[in-house]
């Protein structure tokens, strides 16, 4: 659909905006990444509310994670998560074999080191969505081969 292109471009612009300082210098530092994560967080927090407003309450944590993998992922990335694994102790690993924001970058190893900054917004998105559903967590991401990536969700239990 046409509007997907618009969202892709907006995401690219957000990434390039926060990683470039006013002088045009690249800043890959923690500050830029945390801004990017923050933008994702507030988007995810609000978006999941719109998405789940007609669903009834989730029964447990696993059910929430399944909804994230199916409904949330399809709404944002046009596909479901390919693999969900858990150690049943609050760690979940979501694997996407063809991640939307990496799909338009070359599959070779050439740009591998630039890939992580395209995942940070999504880390925030996930953390925000889960926070809105009542789960506090830390989300990290890694890429080993393009365009596949893994998101690791560490739930923080009170």
């Amino acid at each position: 659909m046409a509007d997907d292109a618009l969202f892709d471009f907006l995401h690219m612009e957000i990434v390039s905006h926060v990683t470039k300082s006013d002088a045009g210098l690249l800043q890959d530092g923690d500050e830029a990444m945390s801004k990017l994560e923050q933008i994702g967080y507030s988007t995810g927090y609000r978006f999941i509310e719109r998405l789940t407003k007609d669903l009834s309450r989730f029964k447990d944590e696993l059910e929430v994670m399944k909804a994230i993998c199916k409904d949330f992922w399809s709404a944002v990335f046009k596909k479901q998560v390919d693999n969900l694994r858990t150690n049943h102790q609050g760690v979940y690993v979501l694997q996407d074999n063809k991640f939307r924001f990496l799909a338009s970058i070359s599959n070779s190893r050439q740009y591998l080191e630039l890939a992580p900054k395209y995942l940070v917004f999504t880390c925030g998105l996930l953390r925000g969505a889960l926070a809105s559903l009542g789960l506090t967590c830390i989300v990290t991401a890694e890429v080993t081969t393009m365009p596949a990536c893994k998101f690791q969700v560490h739930l923080q239990r009170a």
Binding site: S42, L55, F58
Partner: protein, 179 residues
């Protein structure tokens, strides 16, 4: 447990809400980064420009549209692009006598659906991204235009009005050192 009947409703609407919310989060981050609303407007315009220079290709590829003969033609294309990418149908009106300037009127704007501007942001042009997109997209088809917001319903105006003005036709310029 989730009720099976009540699955995620309208994917088109969901898409546009995701875009709207992301954009909102971006604008609020920009407002934190730059204290001055003018700077935020400038950033939004610049980001829009970058989107515009890319999205025109997507637009041409999808619509296989032909060359525009005049500004009225261009206005129609811009109108259809809004329909295509955002699902809004702006009205083209208020042509200048020389037919080089027109307005796009938005009676509804999905971008501002969840937005309310606090009093401290009255000089913020929330949708300034659009101006940049139009400028960038037209530049890639050899048209230099300027565009700006005349009215904004976020600021209490009855409607949202975006004005587009033709500046000049750009000539193909060869890169230096090439014949």
């Amino acid at each position: 447990m989730a009720r099976p009947g009540a699955r995620v409703a309208d994917s088109k609407k969901i898409n546009s809400e995701l875009f709207t919310l992301t954009y909102g989060a971006l604008v609020s981050q920009l407002l934190k980064d730059y204290e001055n609303a003018e700077d935020v407007n400038r950033q939004l315009d610049r980001m829009g420009y970058n989107i515009g220079v890319r999205i025109i290709e997507d637009f041409l590829a999808r619509t296989s549209t032909a060359r525009c003969t005049d500004m009225r033609d261009t206005a129609e294309k811009i109108q259809s692009a809004f329909k295509m990418y955002l699902g809004v149908n702006p009205t083209v009106t208020s042509w200048s006598p020389a037919s080089d300037e027109f307005s796009l009127l938005f009676d509804q704007n999905p971008m501002t659906e969840f937005v309310e501007l606090p009093d401290s942001c009255l000089s913020l042009k929330y949708c300034n991204l659009f101006c940049g997109i139009i400028r960038g997209a037209c530049e890639m088809v050899q048209l230099e235009v300027t565009s700006w917001f005349v009215q904004d319903s976020l600021k209490g105006d009855p409607t949202t009005e975006l004005r587009v003005k033709f500046v000049k036709k750009l000539e193909d310029a060869m890169p230096a050192g090439e014949d």
